[in-house]
């Protein structure tokens, strides 16, 4: 069955420290993966997508098909990075479906 897992519900790091939010998926097809972020009192919004191979707000994520992972990384965490982060998988079937992981709450300590 298709599934997205994020093993850490809560993650706390100090400002300036590296941060890595883990995401693993199970899917037999070719995956499309995304990271969405929800800042306090804001809407859920796209952070980045694997196909673009982009860096947004200093964050990057690399798709590792061998390990079925799509971990989100940033070398130096900032206080404004504190938010809820969701990893998402788009399933390529005859119709469109996007499923999300349970989310990781990141807290950056000043």
């Amino acid at each position: 069955a298709q599934r997205v897992t994020q093993p850490e519900k809560l993650l706390s790091v100090f400002k300036g420290a590296p941060v890595e939010l883990k995401c693993n998926y199970s899917y037999s097809g070719s995956p499309e993966l995304f990271w969405y972020v929800q800042y306090s009192r804001q809407r859920l919004q796209l952070l980045l997508r694997h196909i673009s191979r982009e860096s947004i707000k200093g964050f990057t994520a690399d798709l590792n098909k061998g390990e079925t992972s799509f971990h989100l990384k940033k070398p130096f965490a900032q206080e404004e990075d504190s938010a809820m982060y969701y990893c998402a998988l788009r399933l390529k079937t005859s119709y469109d479906k996007v499923i999300f992981g349970p989310g990781t709450s990141l807290s950056v300590i000043p």
Binding site: Y36, R43, L44, S94, Y95, V98
Partner: protein, 114 residues
């Protein structure tokens, strides 16, 4: 134009009552999703619409939940005979049907069942 609009933003109801939650997607977006967001459960997929049809209703928790979409635009999620475990934030998202297109989310409806 405006983003995805959901109403009401907050709904308090008594156990056993029916509720309707509304989603107005971005104009021209053919794909529409409903998710339920609760602590510890993350974002739970409920239903997906492509146009007015719902090819995937697999996420609806029980037959008390139903959804419809009319005119390829507004969608309504109905919960009948609400239970306390239905309390959550119900999120709607829309997207255009193109490769790698992102989802645009509404601000959600906070449902509290007393």
């Amino acid at each position: 134009g405006a983003g995805v609009s959901q109403s009401p933003s907050n709904k308090v109801t008594e156990k056993g009552k029916d509720v309707e939650l509304r989603c107005d997607p971005i104009s021209g977006h053919t794909a529409l999703y409903w998710y339920r967001q609760s602590l510890g459960q993350g974002l739970e997929f409920l239903i997906y619409f492509q146009g007015n049809s719902a090819p995937d209703k697999s996420g609806l928790p029980s037959d008390r939940f139903s959804a419809e979409r009319t005119g390829g635009s507004v969608s309504t999620l109905t919960i009948q005979r609400t239970q306390q475990e239905d309390s959550a934030v119900y999120l709607c998202a829309s997207s255009s049907y193109v490769l790698n297109e992102k989802l645009f989310f509404g601000s959600g409806t906070q449902l509290s069942v007393l």
